[in-house]
């Protein structure tokens, strides 16, 4: 069991990294450790635990900005934002539950576990991604200590800022491999007054994709568009599951609209008319809608089977339906659900293999997208790159960035790609305990 170092201030964090640099020891960086099973296993001598580097530095609702130390529980931050009717617009879902990871610091059934830093380092996002972007789009600035043991910052606390390179983008989604963030400043946005969900029964996944495309292309400012198959409906919307025409649930297209009451009612009616040919719609009001979209953000139907392989395919939205059909040709019993108007395909398989992974990746690439292995047993994650492999030209730039920020490869080595994190020493060096 690796020894754990727990800094409680940015200065202590820097000391810890300087020490690691001096002694050439590798660090695994964790917050709550809730997303530790996402990505490759890190081979490190010590664990650098940020969960005690906590505290909100400032929150100014009228400026739409919140700043906190990276180890602050996300639950604490979302609760504070909620008091002022604000939220992170990119809607981070409950990845920890999906992964079956630790849930320290969260009350079950409430806000997602994990820390602010972990949320940004993994760049997670939920259903509103199609309208409002991911975590990367909402980070205004950060402070971090790089693998060189130097404290550096970028960005700031204002909405518009082109002062120097936008290193916030580089850090978001870098899985702690370039620097350890200690301070983060993000944009908060108002919670919409009302929410409506238009549910349209639609068994055919390709037709469902077309329905979502039509809705997104309309003037109705759709902020969530998902397709949930009949088998998963009860997990997402018990109400919808009970109203199946023939006594059993049907698959559903779900469209979310948000805004002032008059507006959401008007737009819900407009969407019902638009999709009248596909099926007769029902509309959920705010409370039920919030629960539906939380369940979609959390990928609730796929939380329970931790023994199943889970893939997340990001593809051009109009191809989502066809991608689900293609996945069905690999494995007829695949469980698949669409979010982002078809641009995000969650696919769960009872078992996995290197060969199957190759086929899944090919389907994603043929559609113009990519596939990420979100959940799999350790042995499979050693054999299959978790993240979509990149071109050699892009890898070369990524490797140089990694070398320049973390020259001795002491931060989360192997987390993103085994080859990259080994500093180019080996093409595909295996990692693992």
């Amino acid at each position: 069991m690796a020894e754990t170092i727990i800094p409680t201030s940015p200065a202590q964090l820097r000391d810890a990294i300087l020490w690691a640099l001096g002694d050439k020891v590798a660090l695994e960086i964790i917050g709550h450790g809730s997303k530790r099973a996402y990505g490759h296993a890190v081979r490190a001598d010590y664990v650098l635990d940020l969960s005690k580097l906590t505290g909100i530095l400032f929150y100014q609702p009228e400026e739409l900005v919140i700043s906190a130390y990276a180890g602050t529980p996300l639950a604490e931050i979302t609760a504070l934002l909620a008091q002022k009717h604000q939220q992170f617009q990119f809607e981070p879902g409950d990845f920890p539950r999906l992964l079956g990871g630790q849930r320290d610091g969260a009350v079950a059934g409430q806000a997602p576990a994990g820390t602010l830093g972990g949320m940004v380092a993994t760049n997670i996002s939920g259903p509103r991604r199609l309208k409002s972007g991911a975590a990367r789009d909402h980070v205004l600035g950060f402070g971090a200590v790089s693998g060189r043991g130097e404290d550096f910052k970028s960005g700031g606390r204002v909405m518009k800022n082109v002062t120097g390179f936008d290193l916030s983008k580089l850090m978001a989604g870098s899985f702690g491999t370039l620097g350890v963030m200690h301070t983060l400043t993000l944009k908060a946005m108002p919670v919409p007054e009302k929410t409506r969900t238009v549910l349209v029964p639609c068994e055919d996944v390709v037709l469902a994709g077309q329905a979502m495309t039509a809705a997104m292309g309309s003037e109705n400012e759709v902020s969530g568009a998902a397709w949930v198959p009949a088998s998963m409906l009860a997990m997402i919307s018990p109400d919808a599951a009970e109203t199946g025409d023939v006594g059993s649930a049907t698959s559903m297209v779900m469209l979310r609209i948000e805004g002032p009451e008059q507006s959401v009612d008007w737009r819900a009616a407009a969407l019902c008319r638009l999709l009248d040919d596909i099926g007769s719609a029902m509309v959920l009001r705010t409370e039920k809608s919030l629960s539906v979209w939380q369940a979609i953000a959390d990928v609730k139907p796929m939380q329970s089977r931790h023994d199943c392989i889970l893939w997340r395919l990001s593809v051009p939205s109009s191809s989502g339906g066809a991608v689900v059909q293609a996945l069905g040709r690999i494995e007829p019993n695949v469980d698949a659900m669409l979010d982002w108007a078809g641009g995000l395909v969650w696919a769960q398989f009872a078992a996995g293999s290197v060969e199957q992974a190759g086929k899944i990746r090919q389907i994603a690439v043929d559609a113009g997208g990519q596939a990420c292995l979100v959940r799999a047993a350790d042995d499979l994650r050693r054999e299959i790159p978790v993240f979509q492999p990149l071109s050699s030209e892009i890898n070369r730039i990524n490797r140089k960035i990694s070398e320049n920020f973390d020259p001795h490869n002491i931060l989360n080595p192997g987390r993103m790609t085994p080859g990259l994190a080994q500093g180019g020493v080996s093409g595909n060096q295996a990692v693992g305990a």
Partner: protein, 497 residues
């Protein structure tokens, strides 16, 4: 005056060979410009106080040519200055005497409009407004709209991460770009992002956006297009002082309303624009808000009522709501012509671009009045109030000895104040050469070294757009030195388990 890197005489000595090499790569007639008269139009961008003739200008027309040019420049250690439409206000496209200026204006085609995925693939020389023009017949538009949108290129927008008046609700360029094709200085072609939303690996597309031509040359761009809102209505709200105007902005946002546009002008800006375009602006107010609400008509009308109430509570002394599209356009015409309006009342002006936390607006405006007296120059303010981005317009006469220097010193004072209150040097115009030497106001040595380390990962020889953004270029060796310390006792203060 700002110091630029010294021209490399050994490169200048090879000028004839370089011209021949460029003509071999880009054979089209007129695509390699080497005559002084023909180079003249390229001597500056929108920051016209600084001029320098480029060594040569090349106008390639496809990605393969760019790759060949950059590969040649990399092998022969020749500096490169990328250039879009030349409308930038920070001198990001200022040429160098020993550098090739690569103009992207032949990359002017819309390649693909993908209605189903709400994406548009364009070449970088297409104008910002050109994208909207290409998609508006089906009710779509491209959201970021810098005031130069009729002329500025989308490639330049990527370089500067341009904003506009709709950023608060619809985001900046970086939030509206889905994919990029770019060429590195070594001639490699990278394809980043695309019509799928997620990518893997470091977010190179995110760091290229706003990198001011220092990391590579972008050759193709996929942007997100949006369905045009059903209705938009604008309101003019006048206040007796800047404080109450600023309070109104804060209250609108604190009430959960995110307007499509939220602009503010101070008294000098109101008067200058009204004299110029006769938009019907009230002349007896000190602060004027232009609020635009967009969406379904029923929502817009509801929000107009709410904003009217908030304005009343904040002491508005003037309120007018656009009743039709002509009137809405008229309201905007004042704001959109603020720069030329100032140009009419002053021989010259410089436009600053700091961003501040909105709550500090009246402090910053008061500070500007002090600076105005200290430097003996007038200032007018237009302000993207929703996102805190200030555009103070400092008026001066370049023909009066010392006035340009005074105007620049005035501008520097304003930007330092912006940083002091928690803001930044540039909201949307970029650092370029204009604000380069102010970077240490905001960043420490270590902050800047990490930015430069990103630069080195793309361009180790620092050939792309040298002299821009960073005041002192650290040598490669200095950036790579490690200051590790081996601590004998392992940091005793830190709790460990």
């Amino acid at each position: 005056m700002l110091k630029m890197p010294e021209p490399d005489q050994s490169v200048l000595a090879r000028r004839t060979d370089i011209i021949a090499a460029m003509r071999a790569i880009v054979p089209a007639s007129g695509a390699v410009i080497a005559e002084e008269d023909a180079l003249r139009p390229y001597e500056c961008d929108g920051l016209m106080a600084y001029r320098q003739l480029p060594m040569i200008v090349v106008l390639p027309e496809n990605t393969a040519q760019i790759a060949a040019i950059l590969k040649y420049c990399h092998q022969n250690k020749i500096r490169v200055v990328p250039r879009g439409a030349g409308t930038g206000l920070s001198g990001g496209a200022l040429p160098m005497a020993d550098a090739i200026t690569i103009s992207m204006m032949k990359f002017n085609r819309v390649l693909d409009i993908d209605w189903d995925n709400r994406a548009c693939v364009v070449q970088p020389g297409v104008t910002n407004l050109g994208i909207t023009r290409a998609v508006e017949h089906r009710g779509f538009y491209y959201a970021p709209d810098p005031s130069s949108q009729i002329a500025c290129s989308i490639g330049g927008n990527i370089a500067e991460n341009s904003g506009g008046v709709h950023c608060l609700k619809y985001g900046l360029t970086t939030n509206n770009v889905l994919g990029l094709e770019m060429v590195t200085i070594e001639g490699d072609v990278l394809r980043l992002g695309g019509k799928a939303l997620d990518s893997t690996g470091y977010d190179l597309m995110g760091v290229i956006t706003g990198s001011e031509g220092l990391l590579g040359i972008v050759t193709e761009i996929t942007v997100r297009i949006l369905r045009k809102p059903e209705t938009a209505r604008a309101m003019l709200l006048g206040f007796p002082d800047n404080q109450s105007g600023g309070d109104c902005v804060a209250k609108i946002i604190a009430n959960g309303i995110i307007p499509g546009g939220l602009e503010m002008m101070d008294a000098p800006a109101i008067r200058a624009t009204e004299d110029f375009v006769h938009a019907g602006y009230p002349l007896d107010v000190e602060s004027l808000l232009l609020v635009e609400l967009d969406g379904p008509e029923i929502e817009v009308n509801h929000l107009i009522d709410r904003v009217s109430d908030i304005a009343q509570q904040c002491g508005a002394v003037y309120s007018r709501i656009s009743e039709n599209e002509e009137e809405r356009a008229l309201f905007w015409s004042g704001r959109k012509n603020a720069f030329p309006a100032i140009g009419r009342i002053s021989p010259d002006y410089i436009c600053m671009d700091g961003t501040i936390p909105r709550g500090r607006l009246s402090d910053v405006l008061a500070g500007m009045q002090v600076f105005s007296q200290r430097h003996g120059l007038r200032v007018a303010n237009v302000f993207h109030a929703g996102d805190g981005n200030l555009h103070p317009l400092i008026m001066f006469d370049a023909n009066q000895p010392g006035e340009l220097e005074r105007a620049e010193a005035f501008g520097a004072d304003i930007l330092k104040l912006c940083v002091e209150v928690g803001g930044c040097l540039s909201g949307e115009h970029g650092i370029g050469i204009e604000k380069r030497d102010l970077m240490p106001e905001m960043f420490t040595e270590d902050d800047m070294k990490h930015q430069e380390r990103l630069k080195l990962a793309f361009d180790e020889d620092q050939l792309l757009n040298p002299g821009k953004v960073f005041p002192v270029l650290h040598g490669c060796g200095e950036l790579k030195t490690l200051h590790a310390r081996s601590v004998a006792e392992k940091f005793p203060d830190i709790p460990r388990f």
